[in-house]
């Protein structure tokens, strides 16, 4: 494979990505791009970021051999990259630490963020508290209801949570509302986007800040088993944890990269959140990518048990990795994800996030088709404490 150097200077990954925003945001995005380029060359910034990731986030996160899960699946050995052990409980904080340090560098004192499951909101509220910034989190009112523990956490951390009542009242609407806030308050406000979507430079920047995950794995796997895995699996909503673990594996051509989207009730039912599996390219939230849309180009409602995957678009780099064939994309249904959730709890003593459970579900399907000496690495992107209400409701367990 020839050197992978995407995106181009204007944020394009092949035909995807770009800067599809109203004129009012262009200056802010240009400033952000320039500031980000500057800190990329700044050793002091990079040293501070590394310090924070080590001492505040708790990196590196370990890789763990899931022995009993492997025995249950029968086949390839399954390893878990334990992003659930990060401070705040998910990979999201890798990115918010980076962006908050950048915000501080740019002199912005007010942080806004959108959130679906609330993990990115919590990670944003956390860094805002850590660096003494004001924090406003936009969250669809539907998600506020189904992820109440995270709403409470954000409030404890001093953030203001604004429920969004427009559209489908989920993640995409929260993103719309955060963009509107940014347009209005662009001078003093830094918008921390939580996934590898949005206009350039966000898809690149969020990928870079999360790529610490894959960088660690590329070193840790040979230390543990003497070689790289045969497959890396990660769930994909917007796709930040997947890009984070995929990015440094792109040149390792023998390693399959597999993204797992939210299959909801089943991709064939139309009630899902799997644009790479069943969508078509279009333009939303500042970039060209695969979308869930009707034939008139209106964005349609998505369905997933997991709020963090309930998004009709996907990062443009995933669109490119799909078209180029470097990564494959599959879907796991709500039922499969829930089964994987319970199985991981019972076999390994790890309560995974419902998002990450989609990746585990796919590993359980794939492992039996592989040899026992082969290796699957799953990005366990977050822990499931926030999902206890949802799971107890679905499983009929009274607390």
């Amino acid at each position: 494979m020839k050197m992978y150097d995407l995106p181009d200077a204007r944020g394009h990954f092949g035909p995807y990505g770009g800067v599809f925003v109203a004129e009012t945001l262009v200056r802010a995005l240009t400033e952000l791009r320039e500031a980000y380029e500057e800190v990329g060359r700044d050793a002091e910034f990079q040293a501070e970021l590394a310090y924070e990731l080590k001492h505040f986030v708790g990196r590196p996160s370990p890789i763990y051999f899931a022995r009993r899960l492997t025995e249950h699946a029968g086949g390839a050995r399954i390893f878990l990259k334990r992003e659930d052990l990060n401070h705040t409980g998910a990979h999201k904080v890798n990115n918010t630490v980076g962006q908050a340090l950048l915000a501080r560098r740019m002199g912005k004192k007010r942080i806004i963020a959108e959130t679906g499951a609330g993990q990115h909101g919590v990670a944003s509220a956390t860094v805002a508290a850590r660096y003494g910034m004001e924090c406003i989190v936009y969250m669809g009112s539907e998600d506020v209801a189904r992820q109440s523990p995270n709403v409470f956490r954000m409030k404890l951390l001093g953030a203001t949570v604004v429920p969004v009542e427009s559209g489908s009242k989920t993640l995409k609407d929260a993103l719309n509302e955060a963009m509107r806030d940014w347009v209005t308050n662009v001078e003093n406000t830094f918008y921390i986007i939580g996934t590898v979507a949005g206009p350039h430079p966000y898809p690149m920047m969020v990928r870079d800040f999360n790529s610490v995950v894959g960088k660690e794995c590329v070193v840790q796997m040979p230390e543990m088993i003497g070689r790289q895995p045969d497959a890396v699996i990660a769930c994909v909503g917007g796709g930040s944890n997947a890009m984070g673990i995929f990015y440094d594996y792109i040149p390792h051509e023998k390693t399959r990269l597999i993204g797992v989207e939210a299959g909801g009730d089943g991709v064939e039912t139309g009630r899902h959140a799997a644009p790479l599996s069943a969508g078509t390219p279009g333009i939303l939230h500042g970039n060209r990518t695969y979308l869930m849309q009707d034939e008139d180009g209106q964005i349609i409602e998505t369905h997933s048990v997991s709020a963090g995957l309930d998004y009709p678009g996907v990062g443009p780099e995933h669109a490119w990795l799909k078209d180029s064939g470097r990564a494959e994309y599959a879907a796991a249904t709500d039922t499969e994800a829930l089964e994987a959730f319970h199985l991981l709890c019972r076999t390994e003593g790890i309560i995974p996030a419902l998002e990450s459970s989609h990746a585990v579900a796919h590993a359980l399907k794939l492992a039996p088709t592989m040899d026992k000496d082969q290796v699957i690495l799953v990005n366990l992107s977050g822990r499931g404490d926030k999902d206890l209400n949802t799971v107890s409701r679905l499983a009929g367990i009274t607390l």
Partner: protein
């Protein structure tokens, strides 16, 4: 000469700014859209800006978002909007119609297909909020080849080099967003507009209109003193929201003719 260019030629002779009312196609209803366009013309609209509903109108405030949601609930697609314009053209062959919307419905139809159909329907200009100059090379070629004017936004934050870029790409007119924020926000900075407009007009060989935040005779008149066109959107949609089917035309017509008086008197005073 295009309908938009001839409209501005005429306005130059009349020494006044254009009044451009905006509303969302399909709101308050599919049946009322074309009659409402005629009402706007009778009340003094020089150009009509028709909103194409989109599920995720990021640049719009709550008023236009609601209009978009109401229109989508009535299944108003881009194809349907083009049919409405064609219907309007059967009895009005002179008033320019500009479509304003977002990229994705056009992408779904196909840019070339859209441009050809829009031209055939009698559309004159197209403003796509989320196709900025840097993503517009192919877009501008396609719409121009089909006789449509590509209209671009400029903002208080636009740099000189971007103004020059828009000057190269745009035709018809250029739309200056007079405030930081979304449509319908209430704080128009009139002194900022008065200061910036002459600079833009000197740099751009096209009429420069101003919109976002104009909501009454006073702000319309203040803008009309310096700008070549005054765009009013959210305020009109609020009037539509407050109307019944019986009072719709009277109320919206009354509002627009009041705005027209304000625009007319701006430079006479």
């Amino acid at each position: 000469m295009s309908r938009i260019a001839s409209a501005f030629e005429r306005l130059k002779l009349e020494r006044r700014a254009a009044l451009i009312p905006f509303f969302t196609a399909g709101d308050p209803s599919v049946e009322q859209t074309v009659p409402l366009m005629h009402t706007l013309v009778k009340a003094g609209a020089d150009i009509i800006e028709l909103g194409v509903p989109f599920s995720d109108p990021q640049a719009d405030g709550p008023v236009i978002q609601r209009a978009s949601e109401r229109a989508l609930a009535r299944k108003v697609s881009l194809r349907k909007v083009l049919e409405m314009v064609a219907d309007f053209r059967r009895s009005d062959t002179t008033t320019p119609v500009v479509l304003m919307g977002y990229a994705n419905p056009i992408e779904a139809m196909g840019r070339q297909n859209f441009a050809a159909l829009a031209n055939r329907a009698g559309v004159d200009g197209v403003l796509v909020v989320d196709i900025p100059p840097e993503e517009s090379e192919d877009w501008v070629r396609t719409v121009r080849a089909n006789g449509l004017d590509p209209i671009f936004l400029l903002a208080p934050t636009s740099t000189e080099s971007r103004v020059a870029q828009v000057a190269r790409l745009a035709s018809g007119f250029v739309y200056y967003v007079s405030l930081k924020g979304v449509t319908g926000a209430a704080h128009l900075d009139q002194s900022e507009v008065a200061e910036r407009l002459p600079l833009l007009q000197a740099a751009i060989p096209l009429p420069v209109g101003v919109g976002f935040g104009i909501r009454d005779a006073a702000s319309a008149s203040a803008v009309a003193r310096v700008a070549d066109a005054v765009v009013v959107g959210s305020r009109i949609i609020q009037e539509i929201e407050g109307s019944t089917p019986e009072t719709l035309h009277e109320r919206v017509g009354g509002l627009v003719s009041g705005l027209r008086d304000a625009v007319d008197s701006a430079r006479a005073a």
